[in-house]
Symmetry: C2
Subunit: 430 residues, 2 copies
């Protein structure tokens, strides 16, 4: 199946012949009536089973003797032990950690919603009262971040992603000159979807921004902070932006988010927000009206199960052992089938949940449509960009973790086939 | 200790003598260095222990075989079984139930926040873009409802509470004439704090309102729907406002809320919102951006533990067995110490978490201050009214459930003493 030379060096006749052959392969796939899903970054069942003991590790006797009683109301910032675990995980002071409910996305949404309604610390005006609010959106990025902006009518300005993070010259220029720019979305480690980790230089430049807006915030979604694929051998390292922003005299500029959604359970984990004490004080004026507090029993359960960072590291190695072969299969298929074609490039992340593939310009939507036609659902091409618009129509996010291995292999064969078909269609102007 | 005649019939000399005697009693209390709390409607430890089995009743094997897998992402409206349990509890169709996270207060806050930002179904304008938004606030009522309004700058119009619910003549007049009135807060069953249940006539009149605003909503906080004190013997019954509003041609006018916070665990229960399917569709456009979904494992746990309405009823009887004696002590103390004084009146609820005491006009804050001086924390007088302002300064909310019985007895002795002291001070213009 593998190509022996770059498509650009093939004659029209060669391409036509190859296209006919690939179309036959495509028909064979279609006849299999596949229903495969590579669309979202969901753990597979084997990963979910790793946290089995958490379900039953907390007994009433343990809770009955604990003070304060986590079964009752109270502790709006979460239980101290859970806050400490996040503090250790994110290398921040425990006083700056707010341990919340089951969804960091919800915490991010709430943070934007509060900013719209009330502003943030340093705002002269609630954001919703301003003529225009803009966010920088390093792209490709996380579609759900962009969806929040779109819902609130926040104008999104795409910023190209490099192998080191967002293109900082552009970020610095925009942030320092346009006071309508109130924030930037970042997934700084094992970035969604490219899998890269921001370099120290990028983190420092972000921490040292001189925003025109007095109430500019970096939304630092550290979703994959401990989500290494290769255990302790070659994890990426990320500079601590909380420390750097303090050094830079910008102590209030960062809102950090994280969760155990892909450590323990998606949707039944614990989320955290990290911010300066002054930021937290400002937020709590609203937060204590919004809720009496998070689910503290689930926090207690997490601490009892994970215990400490050693426990987290051990568990993450078990996750890695399950999903690493899946990442390997995706990369092997891409290399084996597309390696010499020069019609696609891809990232080789050391962690996270995604592999990002750039196909030939103008071909991503066609690849998605072809895959769908043959029964494989991809993350819809485009959604990794603001407003769902990939200007080059080239980026596709592969999420290898959820499908069983045998399905992933089939899905990747089909995916690579569709990349080839779409490329030839473009080269032949079909 | 009990008074033999009404204070209004006592001479100045008699009152002075009594005051001196009561002051001595007060000094004795103060010397005890009490630290007692009757301020909030929190379950006591014995109640928390009732749900012990819920902590460990769900095993990984149960989840591993269930479809869809509740450990993973998905089901933004909650799991079907939890929605059904709420549907049975609230006598509504399961399609109209959204089973959420751990806090119905949070769902109410979010509902207001969304209305401010985006309006509700039928809104011409998001509420935050209007010059003025007003809510009717039957008072005394729940302080946390009022706090939400205050935070969002919603003007609160107090409506007097009667033994049958809010004064409906006033509600009808205001709602039908003032389009700035967008909502009304109701705790219709075992009301916080008066403990009364809305009569059928009041529910029907609410369901048949003809609001001037096209986007008026009844916020129906059915927090104590199954929280009977006297088991199955003499529970209050509440007419189903969802049915009535449909009959009245107002199918979208009601947002209902409930939770298991005082069935299983405060803060680690499951909350629900009930609304018409059209309302839910409108809300979900925002909700699906806000979160990927609620904690479904906790919902599964609740269903596994409670099973069905028979299970809920049995558990609520166990709760009632624990807190009924506490309500009895409060009522006995009030009757024994204040019964003949004619300086206070109080409610005798059949359920819920509170007993509401009206002391002599202008005396509530003084009673609170005296109690505090002697080491007993009450719900701060006034907070049961919009802006914390009880126009008559007479209402005090007693929350009998949390303190152990021996502490409750002492606290009530002190409370009644303070009511007497404050009354005499008023009568003697001290």
């Amino acid at each position: 199946m593998s190509a022996t030379k770059a498509y650009k060096n093939m004659s029209t006749a060669e391409l036509e012949a190859l296209y006919t052959q690939l179309q036959e392969e495509f028909s064979t796939f279609k006849s299999k009536n596949l229903h495969l899903d590579m669309s979202r970054g969901k753990p597979e069942k084997g990963q979910l089973r790793l946290s089995a003991d958490m379900l039953t590790c907390v007994t009433d006797a343990m809770l009955d003797s604990a003070e304060p009683d986590v079964r009752n109301y109270g502790l709006p910032n979460g239980i101290p032990e859970m806050r400490q675990l996040f503090a250790d995980m994110l290398h921040v002071p425990v006083e700056e950690v707010l341990a919340g409910g089951n969804s960091s996305l919800n915490m991010m949404y709430d943070t934007i919603a509060r900013a719209m309604q009330f502003g943030v610390l340093g705002s002269k005006t609630p954001w919703s009262k301003l003529d225009k609010v803009k966010f920088l959106c390093p792209a490709p990025g996380y579609d759900r971040h962009f969806a929040i902006c779109e819902l609130f009518g926040i104008e999104m300005i795409p910023v190209p992603m490099t192998a080191e993070g967002p293109e900082m010259d552009l970020v610095e220029t925009l942030v320092s000159t346009d006071a309508a720019i109130k924030g930037i979305w970042c997934v700084p480690k094992y970035s969604n979807p490219t899998g890269i980790t921001y370099s120290d230089a990028v983190v420092r430049r972000l921490a040292n921004l001189k925003p025109a807006a007095t109430d500019f915030r970096i939304f630092w979604d550290n979703a994959y902070c401990v989500h290494h694929l290769y255990g302790e051998y070659q994890p990426d390292t990320l500079l601590n932006i909380m420390d750097e922003s303090k050094k830079a005299g910008n102590p209030d500029m960062v809102f950090m988010f994280a969760s155990t959604s892909k450590i323990t359970y998606p949707g039944a984990g614990v989320a955290a927000m990290v911010a300066s004490i002054d930021n937290l004080k400002f937020i709590q004026k609203q937060l204590t009206i919004q809720t009496i507090g998070p689910d503290k029993i689930n926090q207690f359960r997490h601490v009892a199960f994970l215990k400490d960072m050693d426990g987290v590291t051990r568990l993450m190695q078990q996750h890695a052992d399950i999903i690493r072969p899946k990442f390997a299969v995706v990369l092997e298929k891409l290399e084996a089938i597309l390696g010499n074609c020069e019609i696609a490039s891809w990232t080789k992340p050391n962690g996270g949940y995604f592999i990002s593939v750039d196909v030939m310009e103008g071909c991503a939507k066609r690849v998605g449509a072809l895959c769908k036609e043959a029964g494989v659902v991809l993350t819809p091409p485009g959604v990794t960009f603001p407003y769902g618009k990939d200007p080059k129509d080239e980026n596709i996010r592969i999420a290898p973790t959820y499908p069983p291995m045998e399905e992933l292999i089939v899905a990747m064969d089909l995916f690579c086939l569709c990349v080839r078909l779409a490329a030839i269609e473009k080269l032949l102007n079909k």
